[in-house]
């Protein structure tokens, strides 16, 4: 039998509780700091504006392109013009702010005409225009979706388990979400709608992970062999028992995501990146954040296994 994690003894995860909580608190605060200090590099889907994707016949020079587009003096807002390479030196993405006195069709035509001066064979592969009002709405919808997911999961876990489990799972997984956002803010990667989809998918996915551990904890509470053990030992045993599953499952999901990251091209890059961060931190947080939180909230055996109530005899 090929085995990765067949451990004779349980790993005392809970005794590292203080250390791991400190580490996650530090990363969390760091992520929040970058989120506020640098902010997210929102895609035009949120901010409004125009994006062009063009392909040159030879390697292009983004700096020179940027200068020539700035020279068009489209809106006066030069700092908002972005030119960057997309995967290969021939593919370039140009991002322009909303220009009030020009339709998007005319704007893209003007820019294309300018680019054709340096390379006659430049090909426009994608033009995207988003009006400013749509973006705000997307943001509120995204936040509503986030809130709805949290509430839905809290209710479900509250019913299936207990409120302590529900709240721990949500805190642990929101911690993942904030870290993904923090990383995106730190590297100033573009935060697009597909990245938002990935972030919300991660939320559902990491809760998944916490649920598996919680399931084991509940089972352990009911097991006869675990009766004399302390809460810490029960949780340690649950995490150790599910560990190989955790690694294998996340490993196979990550393999899929990695394939998207490597072969999916620029269109799937942000999506795959957000999932990768989410999966890595998902393992960490559900094992080392959610479970210590359970203890913090004062989980006891009685909160899971209802004591058998002694029936009162009716007095005749």
């Amino acid at each position: 039998m090929l085995e990765m994690f067949h451990l004779k003894k349980d790993i005392p995860f809970m005794s590292y509780g203080r250390l791991t909580t400190t580490v996650s608190l530090a990363t969390f605060l760091l992520a929040v700091f970058f989120l506020f200090y640098k902010g997210l590099n929102l895609s035009i889907e949120f901010t409004g504006g125009t994006v062009l994707e063009v392909r040159y016949s030879q390697p292009a020079d983004p700096n020179q392109m940027r200068h020539s587009i700035e020279a068009l003096n489209l809106s006066g807002k030069h700092q908002e013009i972005q030119v960057q390479l997309l995967g290969s030196p021939r593919d370039v993405m140009i991002r322009l702010p909303s220009v009030s006195n020009m339709t998007s069709a005319k704007l893209s035509e003007t820019v294309m005409a300018e680019l054709r001066k340096t390379d006659a064979k430049v090909e426009s592969r994608k033009v995207e225009f988003v009006g400013p009002s749509v973006g705000e709405e997307l943001l509120t919808h995204g936040l509503t979706a986030l809130a709805l997911v949290c509430v839905g999961i809290i209710i479900y876990l509250g019913i299936r388990f207990e409120w302590r489990f529900a709240v721990s799972a949500i805190i642990a997984n929101l911690h993942d979400v904030v870290i993904i956002l923090g990383v995106f803010a730190f590297f100033q990667w573009e935060f697009s709608l597909t990245v938002l989809a990935a972030v919300l998918a991660v939320l559902g996915y990491s809760v998944n992970e916490s649920v598996v551990v919680f399931d084991r904890i509940r089972e352990n509470f009911r097991k006869a062999g675990m009766r004399g053990k302390s809460i810490n030992e029960v949780i340690d045993n649950a995490i150790t028992a599910t560990m190989s599953r955790t690694v294998i499952t996340h490993g196979s999901t990550e393999v899929m995501v990695l394939a998207m990251l490597l072969f999916g091209g620029p269109a799937l890059h942000g999506f795959a990146m957000a999932l990768t961060i989410g999966i890595v931190f998902g393992i960490y947080s559900s094992v080392l954040v959610a479970s210590p939180l359970l203890l913090l909230f004062g989980l006891t055996r009685e909160s899971m296994v209802k004591p058998v109530r002694v029936k009162e005899e009716a007095v005749v």
Binding site: I153, T194, A197, F263
Partner: protein, 607 residues
């Protein structure tokens, strides 16, 4: 104990076969084709047209691969794009202007598959190239317009009833009527109540000040707004038909938005031009008073008037119009380019009965005066023509002549016919994807899916041996079910959709990992193999259910609040969770049962 009853095995087999059949059409590619449809719904495309086209192609020496009629349109397949292009030109020339001839791609689904309703997934714009627009309908303008109509109706009604009214004013949200005394007020109130049941009337009678305030009921306002969106959708349909694209998507999104998607459109500039054009026609009276005109030219336009330009090939002329709108494009039934008695290009407009009545009354009362046909595009009015009214025009047929070329006449007619928008629209989102990018997106999306799938299968087989093989087969079945479901429900596949398929597959293996790990645990604990299989599946089930439901909750939230890309992702994600539960638990168990359940003695499990 590890045997499924026969019926259960049969159901699984049936599901697998059905899944394969309905997923199969996606294996076949697409053939270039030409689609012929009528420009109007009254133009029938039937076997006679088909016959004509076939003879015509024979004469032009182009060999079609097949032709069939579907939804009042004819589709002819060709072997290559060259034949397709040649055929398009030939058919268009022969059939003339009553038919739209468009290039398109037809799926190569074999006949027997098509008979059972199997069809390939439609590809989204990001995968095949095309144009996407999101338009915002200005519903407040629709209500505004409704008030204008109310003001006009009241004016006519009071005139008909010979009630002397003071000024009839259009306010921001209502119409105000000034009246002389109590009696006329009561009289006009009765008249309005009878003829306009949808307005609410409030009356004010102070000393020597008698007023009626008309407002639309809330219900009526909502109706006007939703009607405006619906009419705009209909209008967009007409315009898109004029464009000759096939399989366009025109849908309402939210309360006041419309999505237009034109897949495979190559000439994006023209598409944008026609879609983006928003024209409404207004008939208004011209003010001939020279003093007022010169005042307006000096920059002081008198209240109740508007200075516009009259189109003229020798240079546009300024013209002063009253702001009251007598008639709008909503009353237009049709518009055709034609020629007048002097053989000059003109546009012939047919009005509906209400429009015809208004027009007859208007012309009868204003003989000798000029009226203006104003084409309003993007909130900017332009006077197409301002003819002098020579006599009463009844019957609802109006001919507009002016200085226009034949092309102008055709264009104006098209705009009027397709252009009667109930409210102006604004493009709030626009996306153009070139066909080469689409092709690359498909390739990259599927490549990453297959490499990922291969890697997962390889790992599972090495790590779990026989149980890895069953898990991989179950994962394959999951892919088949998912694609079959997406095809049957004619979901549009987008790049985020492909990403969701890949992600779902990666996550679906979780269930089998859970099961296999449980079986291993049981084996380690010294449980006999058959019992271990049973216990493993049973113990894992609760966990699988819980974890899938939480993921599902996230998927549903994404579906409800997501738009566009996110929604495509969510649909696939949710469906994938459902199919994965079936395949990971039921299909894999059936396979394990078939392998181990019928052996007399199992000493060890290859897990």
């Amino acid at each position: 104990m590890n045997r499924y009853p026969l019926w259960k095995n049969l159901i699984i087999l049936f599901a697998l076969v059905a899944g394969l059949i309905y997923a199969l059409p996606n294996r076949y590619g697409e053939t270039p084709a030409v689609q012929v449809s009528g420009t109007r719904s009254s133009v029938k495309v039937d076997t006679a047209v088909m016959d004509r086209v076939e003879k015509l192609l024979q004469a032009a020496n182009i060999q079609p691969e097949g032709a069939f009629l579907e939804n009042n349109s004819l589709k002819v397949k060709f072997a290559g794009t060259e034949a397709q292009l040649k055929a398009k030109t030939a058919i268009q020339e022969a059939l003339g202007d009553n038919y739209v001839v468009a290039l398109n791609l037809q799926p190569n689904t074999p006949g027997w598959l098509a008979k059972v309703g199997a069809k390939p997934m439609a590809l989204g714009l990001d995968l095949r190239g095309g144009v996407h627009f999101l338009m915002q309908v200005d519903t407040r303008a629709a209500v505004d317009k409704a008030y204008e109509r109310v003001a006009g109706d009241v004016r006519r009604e009071l005139k008909d009833k010979k009630i002397r009214a003071g000024s009839i004013k259009r306010l921001v949200s209502g119409v105000e009527i000034q009246l002389r005394d109590e009696a006329t007020m009561a009289e006009s109130r009765k008249a309005i109540e009878r003829s306009l049941p949808t307005v609410q009337i409030a009356q004010q009678s102070a000393e020597g000040n008698y007023r009626l305030m008309l407002t639309l009921t809330d219900e009526e306002q909502r109706r006007v707004q939703s009607d405006a969106v619906k009419q705009n959708i209909a209008t967009l349909h007409n315009r898109v038909n004029e464009l000759g694209t096939t399989e366009p998507v025109i849908q309402q999104q939210g309360a006041d938005r419309i999505v237009v998607q034109l897949p495979g459109v190559q000439d994006t500039a023209r598409a944008k031009d026609i879609i983006g054009r928003t024209a409404t026609l207004e008939v208004r009276m011209v003010e001939e008073d020279a003093a007022k005109l010169s005042e307006a030219l000096a920059g002081k336009v008198p209240a109740g008037y508007e200075l516009l330009e009259e189109l003229d090939p020798r240079g546009n002329r300024p013209i002063l119009l009253k702001t009251d709108v007598e008639l709008t494009g909503e009353n237009i039934n049709g518009a055709q380019p034609s020629f007048d008695e002097q053989n000059q290009p003109s546009v012939e407009i047919t009005l509906d009965s209400a429009g015809a009545n208004i027009f007859r009354q208007l012309t009868a009362e204003n003989i000798g005066k000029r009226m203006a046909m104003v084409l309003v595009e993007k909130n900017k009015g332009q006077v197409v023509t301002a003819p002098v009214i020579r006599g009463e025009i009844g019957g609802g047929r109006v001919q507009i002549t002016g200085s226009m070329t034949t092309a102008d006449a055709t264009d104006t007619a098209l705009l009027l016919r397709a252009g009667s928008l109930a409210a102006p629209m604004e493009v709030v989102e626009e996306r153009t994807i070139g066909p080469s990018l689409g092709k690359e997106n498909i390739e990259k999306g599927f490549n990453s899916m297959f490499y990922g799938f291969g890697a997962v299968v390889l790992f599972m087989v090495i790590y779990y041996r026989m149980f890895g093989v069953t898990a991989s087969l179950a994962l394959g079945a999951n892919l088949v079910f998912l694609i079959a479901l997406l095809s049957v429900w004619s979901t549009t596949l987008t790049l985020p959709g492909i990403a969701a398929i890949a992600l779902t597959l990666g996550m679906a293996i979780d269930s089998n990992v859970l099961i296999n790990e449980r079986i291993r645990e049981e084996v380690r604990a010294g449980v006999p193999p058959q019992t271990a299989i049973k216990a493993g599946y049973e113990h894992a089930w609760a966990t699988i259910l819980d974890s899938n439901i939480t993921t599902f909750i996230a998927g549903v939230a994404l579906f409800i609040f997501g738009s566009g890309a996110v929604r495509g992702f969510a649909v696939v994600h949710c469906l994938g969770i459902i199919t994965s539960m079936f395949s990971a638990v039921v299909v894999s168990r059936a396979l394990v049962n078939l392998i181990y359940g019928y052996r007399r003695k199992v000493t060890s499990l290859a897990v």
